[in-house]
């Protein structure tokens, strides 16, 4: 076995981990600023210029806060549960091609940790295993609100996985491959060949399901303060609580990458803009969309969410697959 490939993979994994964790932390700052802008406030202003060092302040606070474990909790599970969220979120990123290939000191780098043939399926599967974090947290902390939050999480994630899976099926039928690199190469012919034009329905459904799977606002009923205090995270404090949110923001970034690569042309270069800049623009736009929706929309009730999922989105996804199949044949 070639040692070079091992070292390369380890370096890639560390870089992805560091950069995405940094982006996730930075996203919390951006989120506050964008929400403040939309609500005509200033947001964090005091720590550093325009509050940019608020990140460091929050980090220090989270790390030094007392770590409380409730007396009657099932302690090992209670302690493991928050780790699952970032672990699954970062594992899912192993199959994402972040940028186009580039040459560094005469060595061609493919910015993907592991190019497996079933990339998209791997990402969806591992990300769906991330529901164990809220589930185990809720069940081990022996708290009614936490248990209710956990139950809501599992229902929401299981239902919307169906929608996102079915929505993805239609574009995958056109492409005929599960590898994200193939999906990206399919749309190489400029803005006209982006899949969002031929599969607008799948795009919409996948984005809606993405909001539900990352627990973002119209569907963030798993920690709905007005009803269940803070859901599964009620008993957590300090860094353990922070880990859940690193996982959530990392999932947001994953979903943004997936949408950009599958529907919006991925990292293909556009006009004079190189591909790497292109995908960064798309991802930033998507993160902004996440925040915008949070500022603009209220929560939905759990029953409304289930109704939306099973009575509207799922039939629409099935009809979309049917139409795509007929057109393809």
């Amino acid at each position: 076995m070639d040692w070079a490939i091992v070292i390369e993979t380890v370096i890639k994994a560390i870089v992805v981990l560091a950069v995405i964790a940094g982006m996730a932390a930075f996203a919390t700052y951006i989120e506050r600023k964008v929400l403040a802008f939309m609500q005509r406030r200033l947001g964090p202003m005091n720590v550093g210029p325009h509050g940019i060092l608020q990140l460091a302040a929050d980090g220090i606070k989270l790390f030094t806060k007392e770590d409380i474990v409730p007396q009657n909790a099932v302690k090992p599970i209670y302690k493991i549960a928050p780790v699952i969220a970032p672990v699954t979120a970062f594992t899912a990123m192993a199959a994402i091609p972040f940028f186009p290939e580039f040459t560094l000191f005469g060595y061609t780098v493919t910015p993907i940790v592991s190019d497996i043939n079933v990339g998209i399926l791997f990402i969806m599967g591992v990300a769906s295993a991330g529901m164990y974090a809220p589930l185990l947290a809720g069940m081990s902390s022996t708290n009614k609100w936490a248990l209710l939050g956990a139950a809501r999480t599992v229902i929401a994630l299981l239902s919307f996985e169906v929608v996102s899976g079915l929505a993805l099926l239609a574009p995958l039928m056109m492409i005929g491959s599960l590898s994200l690199i193939d999906i990206n190469d399919y749309q190489i012919g400029g803005i006209g060949s982006w899949l969002v034009w031929s599969q607008p329905m799948a795009f919409l459904l996948f984005v809606i399901a993405g909001f539900a799977e990352t627990n973002r606002t119209p569907f963030d009923l798993i920690e709905y303060e007005a009803e269940i205090v803070s859901g599964y995270a009620t008993d957590y404090s300090g860094m353990r609580w922070g880990l859940f949110f690193i996982g959530e923001y990392a999932n947001m970034i994953t979903i943004s990458f997936l949408v950009s690569i599958i529907f919006l042309g991925g990292y293909n270069s556009f006009w004079i803009i190189p591909g790497a800049i292109m995908i960064l623009i798309k991802i930033s736009a998507f993160i902004f969309l996440f925040l915008w929706v949070r500022a603009a929309w209220p929560h939905v009730r759990p029953d409304q969410m289930m109704w939306l999922c099973w009575k509207i989105l799922m039939p629409m996804a099935l009809i979309n697959i049917l139409i795509t199949g007929i057109v393809l044949i």
Partner: protein
């Protein structure tokens, strides 16, 4: 070299996890260990080059089946140990040890292990294993596949029939009636 290291790591972890499932008296430990064990099993599929099956293992067993188990667990107090009620301990242990030994002997005996071969080895060259699974499933194994689908449908319909006594009633409507104090 790396395959060997990975194989032994995954084997040890899998056996450890399923050991916890069997030996632990706490339902929550058993459940989490089962979910973890399912994920470690998918490691073997990846090692053997069957990425598709590995991912399906994660999606189906850890993602869906275990979540449904977890729903069942929510009706119990999972923080307390389960009291097991075993009457004939000696018979139970003898039988389980005997059957385990028997399976190991059968699988490792040269008669059996030498004769294992794929009945339908990959017929088409140059396709990935996702396409291969599809080809085999819809040609050689079409009838078992369809039969399994019908069985699942039967199970689903009977499940719906068992839980739904009053299908014509809407849950939210019922709540509204109760608030008004009317009896349906």
């Amino acid at each position: 070299m790396f395959e060997v290291i990975a194989f032994y790591t995954f084997s040890i972890l899998t056996i450890l996890m399923f050991g916890i499932v069997v030996l632990s008296k706490n339902a929550l430990y058993a459940m989490s260990a089962l979910a973890g064990g399912m994920i470690f099993i998918s490691g073997f599929f990846f090692l053997l080059g069957a990425e598709f099956l590995g991912v399906v293992q994660i999606v189906v067993y850890s993602g869906a089946v275990m979540a449904l188990y977890a729903f069942g667990m929510m009706f119990f107090d999972t923080t307390r140990d389960v009291k097991e009620n075993i009457q004939y301990k000696k018979i139970l242990y003898t039988l389980s040890v005997l059957s385990a030994v028997l399976i190991v002997i059968i699988m490792s005996a040269p008669l059996f292990s030498a004769n294992i071969e794929a009945i339908y080895p990959s017929m088409v060259e140059g396709v990935g294993n996702t396409q291969m699974v599809g080809l085999v499933l819809f040609t050689k194994y079409l009838i078992p596949f369809e039969l399994a689908a019908v069985m699942l449908l039967v199970a689903m319909i009977s499940g719906i029939l068992l839980v739904s006594k009053r299908m014509e009633m809407n849950l939210t409507e019922e709540d509204n009636y109760e608030e008004k104090g009317e009896i349906i």
